[in-house]
């Protein structure tokens, strides 16, 4: 177990290093942030001053090594645009995104697994056909379009839910959360639902396929012959087996939700990390973009770790460490 964790750690550091290098070089190649940020009427002297103030007068490798040196000490640099530590900027927005991603995931799982189960157990029924057709619909509609339609429908026409923003929040240990107030919940529902739709389709299709496959397998037939109740076969045996691929996919998808909920956050003006990322890319705010993607790597590494641990909990034959 310890060796496994150690190996994971070394891999993660290597990925972080490569990632920082690629992002750094990529943004460096796009252009000089000063050209985007400075007032077009600025004098050449003002431009020079700004370039020096942001440390952009050095050659790229010197900038990169200076960045690495500080990064080792835990300082990922200051945002060019906001003049605040890049990591702080991102972390203060992490709870909002986390809340949104978790809410979306809960919706996707709470609806996706029962619907998938039903469809898998009754293949060919009218409900199965409706569910499957609906999931194709959910898959193929672009998020931004669905988001706008949701806003038009429930905010503008019906006037039931607010069109954006986070609403009233309650602080727990200094971290604001929306889901604890009614106002916050009404704000959370639409963006979370919008994010959940695609994942919902994914989950229910995975579950349906898994159920169909396992219901016709030998161990189910054997259990039936033994007289185990149908309820126990599904709940105790089948569901457990099909959850492994579902968890793998959900883990990755959760990482995606956290890191790249950009479109939904923009449309619903949700003050999360994605909103910050898109704005930072537009103005080439390099420290924020680099710090963001580094954080993304860390998130994915952690999620993968949890997924591995979840496997072994679900199926004791799988041992963390690779030797099954």
């Amino acid at each position: 177990m310890l060796a496994f964790l150690g190996r994971r750690l070394i891999q993660s550091v290597a990925v972080l290093l490569v990632m920082s290098f690629l992002v750094f070089l990529g943004i460096f190649a796009i252009g000089n942030p000063v050209d985007v940020m400075i007032d077009p009427a600025a004098t050449p002297l003002e431009r020079e001053t700004a370039i020096r103030a942001l440390g952009l007068d050095l050659p790229w490798y010197q900038q990169y090594f200076a960045f690495l040196e500080r990064a080792v000490a835990g300082d990922l640099g200051r945002s060019f645009v906001y003049n605040e530590p890049a990591l702080d900027l991102i972390l203060t927005r992490l709870p909002a995104t986390l809340e949104l991603a978790v809410a979306a995931m809960v919706m996707a799982v709470a609806l996706g697994i029962p619907l998938g189960l039903w469809a898998g157990l009754h293949p060919g029924s009218w409900l199965d056909r409706t569910i499957m057709a609906g999931s194709i619909f959910l898959f193929s509609m672009p998020t931004f379009w669905v988001g706008i339609i949701l806003i038009m429908l429930s905010s503008v026409w019906l006037g039931w839910l607010p069109s954006g923003d986070r609403g009233e929040t309650v602080s727990i240990l200094g971290v604001p959360f929306s889901f604890l107030t009614w106002d916050g919940l009404t704000h959370l529902f639409l963006p979370a639902f919008n994010l959940a739709l695609f994942k919902l389709a994914l989950v229910l299709r995975l579950v349906r396929a898994g159920v169909q496959e396992h219901m016709s397998s030998d161990y189910v037939a054997f259990a039936r012959a033994k007289g185990v109740s149908e309820r126990r076969i599904i709940g105790r045996h089948v569901l457990r087996n099909i959850l492994i691929p579902v968890i793998t996919v959900l883990g990755l998808e959760f990482g995606n939700l956290l890191a790249f909920a950009v479109v939904t956050e923009t449309i619903f003006a949700w003050p999360g990390m994605g909103n910050l990322l898109i704005r930072s890319i537009q103005v080439l705010d390099r420290p924020v973009v680099v710090a963001y993607l580094m954080l993304t790597v860390v998130i994915f590494v952690l999620i993968n770790l949890f997924v591995d641990l979840a496997y072994s909990a679900l199926d004791p034959r799988i041992r963390v460490g690779g030797r099954a």
């Binding site: 252009g31 985007v36 077009p40 009427a41 906001y82 905010s155 503008v156 909103n275 537009q282």
Partner: protein, 538 residues
């Protein structure tokens, strides 16, 4: 709880609730496309920042909706001689924390502006003309300039005034945050500790990218604002911002998308406010190099740069159907332009109209210049900077192709485009220019004066246009202290350099649009700033 206590409790709750609703009715909720990046008024010279600062801070001189100068913290400004100005300050003004406003605050502000740490775009230009600040008494200043600087008042209208006393007290209480009061960084403004001005609203809370929450300064010298509280939310997505207005989540939005103007106007629950802006969209041409990177013969061969010929530039201007671009592409949200600032602004010509659409005349002129069959160019432009920029570029390309100048369009995000344009990598560029000083002289000086980085002339002259007569005209005009006379000379220079030499080809003036629910009024500003104290009810 006894019944009586319960009754009292319920009563109090009901009263509190009623109070809360009454207060809520007085909260102004605004949705804006882009929020500020800092609350340090001297950190980032950027439209959204400058707009937000106007809620919390005051300038010495204010600009009204049409960018005319009005008294702000200064009640009068008079030139004593060519290089000195006497500024008389407003009496009885206090900052939000109660410290009185006076001449020392102005001197402190001017000394801080060039020193703001890590500024990506400082406001230094607006104080660089000032060589000395003399405090005569608590409410009188003399500003000395190195050269005759008739536009000093326009500069004084750009920067917010901070309190010396507040800043000193803050540094004394937090020693170690900076070596001196002029070097305190923007984070202390973002936290709200130093975001203390004399303006119409006090800051309640803000964080990068989050809504700005404000409460009215009821003692404001210009009269208390119409609303007790205000929340300004950045909603970058156009459709979402409009939806927020339509659903009643906000009272007013800026940047109404051009495609939605007609439907919003038709909706009786909302009002649309509009005004011509200080932003002109124009073409800048490489009129300097013998060989220009994106100019080719029709067979793809390298040719001598035809854009250096004034007849070719004039033909390009005549080829543009500006009326159609304004009507079809901009949905009427633009007016054809013949110069860089609309008539009515300082230094704009009353007679310089947009070049008339005349493709036959343009073809004849091209033939006269030696290009009867035309040539080939690439028109470069941004695709995320100006309203409908990419579609404008395509329309311009079609217009030019019609007279034989085969035009390809190449657009890219602003983050790469402007750098490349400044490095002179392009031949014909679609650009926009918003005159922050509301005056055409400095615009012409930046865009068309012979480029000279030491003297600071032609800083944005991306076509490297150069004309000795124009240099002389604009140089002389910018020394004239008398405003009327200076404006007349600037207008004459514009008539020459744009109307006769076609140094740049203006296309149109963008219009600014706001939409608000019924019952909200505002004065739409040419500089596109949403200033809360100018929003009222009826």
């Amino acid at each position: 709880m006894t019944p009586r206590k319960t009754g009292r409790f319920l009563l109090t709750s009901a009263m509190l609730l009623a109070l809360a609703t009454a207060a809520q009715a007085q909260t102004l909720r605004v949705g804006i496309a882009t929020g500020p990046t800092s609350l340090d008024p001297h950190f980032h010279n950027l439209g959204p920042n400058n707009a937000a600062m106007r809620n919390v801070y005051d300038r010495l001189i204010h600009m009204d909706a049409n960018m005319r100068l009005q008294p702000g913290l200064a009640v009068s400004w008079t030139p004593l001689d060519n290089t000195s100005w006497q500024i008389n300050l407003r009496e009885g003004v206090t900052f939000h924390d109660g410290t009185p406003f006076g001449a020392e605050d102005v001197a402190f502000t001017i000394s801080r502006i060039p020193l703001v740490p890590n500024s990506p775009s400082a406001l230094t230009r607006f104080v660089s003309r000032i060589s000395a600040v003399e405090v005569v008494d608590s409410h009188t200043l003399i500003l000395r300039t190195t050269n005759p600087s008739p536009l000093l008042p326009n500069d004084l209208a750009q920067f917010s005034i901070l309190s010396l006393e507040t800043t000193e007290a803050y540094l004394a209480a937090n020693p170690g945050i900076a070596p001196s009061i002029t070097e305190i960084d923007s984070s202390h403004f973002n936290s709200g500790a130093l975001a203390i001005g004399t303006g119409p609203f006090r800051l309640v809370s803000w964080a990068p990218g989050d809504p700005m929450v404000l409460s009215a300064n009821s003692d404001y010298w210009g009269g208390a604002p119409a609303f007790a509280d205000a929340v300004v939310r950045p909603i970058p997505n156009d459709a979402a911002r409009l939806a927020a207005l339509l659903s009643g989540d906000v009272d007013l939005i800026d940047g109404l998308p051009t495609a939605d103007i007609a439907s919003t106007r038709a909706n009786s629950a909302f009002n649309v406010f509009e005004t011509p802006s200080n932003l002109a969209v124009y073409l800048h041409m490489d009129s300097d190099r013998e060989i220009s990177p994106f100019v080719r013969g029709l067979d793809g061969s390298e040719i001598a740069n035809p854009l250096r010929d004034v007849r070719v530039r004039q033909a390009m201007s005549m080829a543009l159907n500006r009326e159609a671009i304004a009507r079809v592409i901009m949905d009427g949200a633009a007016t054809p332009a013949g110069q860089m600032l609309a008539p009515g602004f300082a230094g704009a010509s009353d007679t310089l109209a947009a070049t008339a659409f005349d493709p036959d005349g343009a073809r004849a002129l091209l033939a006269e210049a030696g290009y009867p069959d035309g040539f080939a160019i690439t028109l470069n432009g941004p695709n995320d900077r100006y309203v409908n920029d990419e579609r404008i570029a395509q329309a311009v390309a079609q217009n030019l192709s019609r007279i034989g100048i085969r035009t390809e369009v190449s657009v890219e995000p602003a983050s790469t485009y402007f750098g490349a344009a400044t490095r002179l990598e392009y031949s014909v560029m679609l650009l926009g220019w918003g005159s922050s000083t509301g005056e055409q002289g400095s615009t012409l000086d930046s865009l068309l004066r012979t480029h000279n980085s030491e003297l600071g002339h032609g800083g944005a002259n991306r076509g490297r246009f150069s004309d000795a007569r124009f240099d002389e005209m604009i140089g002389a005009a910018m020394q004239v202290l008398d405003e009327t006379e200076r404006n007349a000379q600037v207008a004459a220079a514009a008539e020459y350099v744009i109307g006769e030499r076609f140094g740049v080809i203006p296309i149109h003036f963008q219009m600014n649009f706001w939409a608000a629910r019924q019952g909200i009024t505002m004065s739409p500003r040419a500089d596109n700033y949403t200033v809360l104290s100018e929003i009222g009810t009826r």
